[in-house]
Symmetry: C2
Subunit: 100 residues, 2 copies
């Protein structure tokens, strides 16, 4: 699940058109279309608005936002999965020793 998919899902579940949601987010509808198709990214502040509008978890949206960004970076990489492991181990390592 990408952020674009999630936003489309939320929007359609609430019976909203792109033009409506776009206007609430104060962006053009062409831009929102691209966001839903993961061709463009929203500003992070927009996630707050979305979580309020659809009453859904902001953390989840943020995980999708960052995750989709990471995916864009590695999607054509041979070493994609190993790179993810490297990053994961560093995160866990830092957590373990509580490094600030």
């Amino acid at each position: 699940m990408t952020l674009g998919q999630k936003i489309r899902e939320l929007r359609e579940q609430s019976g909203m058109f792109q033009r409506e949601l776009a206007s609430k987010l104060e962006i053009g509808d062409g831009f929102l279309s691209k966001v839903e198709n993961n061709q463009k990214t929203l500003k992070r502040e927009h996630l707050i608005k979305i979580s309020e509008l659809f009453n859904c978890s902001l953390s989840e949206l943020e995980a999708l936002w960052i995750g989709t960004k990471l995916y864009e970076i590695i999607k054509d990489e041979q070493e994609a999965l190993n790179a993810l492991k490297v990053a994961e181990q560093e995160i866990k390592y830092r957590k373990q020793y509580d490094i600030l």
Copy 2:
């Protein structure tokens, strides 16, 4: 293990000083110092040179190079691990359906 750590390890194992390796990579030694401390990133082409110099796996270096970059993006994120999961699932999903 980050790319910086790996490079330092390889360099020290071969008894080389920063100034020497830096010169072989055609960069300044101050810059290499920062690379080893993950404050700066090498160009990708440099990895090839390093793998030749120390006779080590290029894929491994690339995984570390990308992985360290991913880590830099998420290291201060609350949702770091979940974001990694999102990216991982997308990679695996795409693999499963062999999407080009």
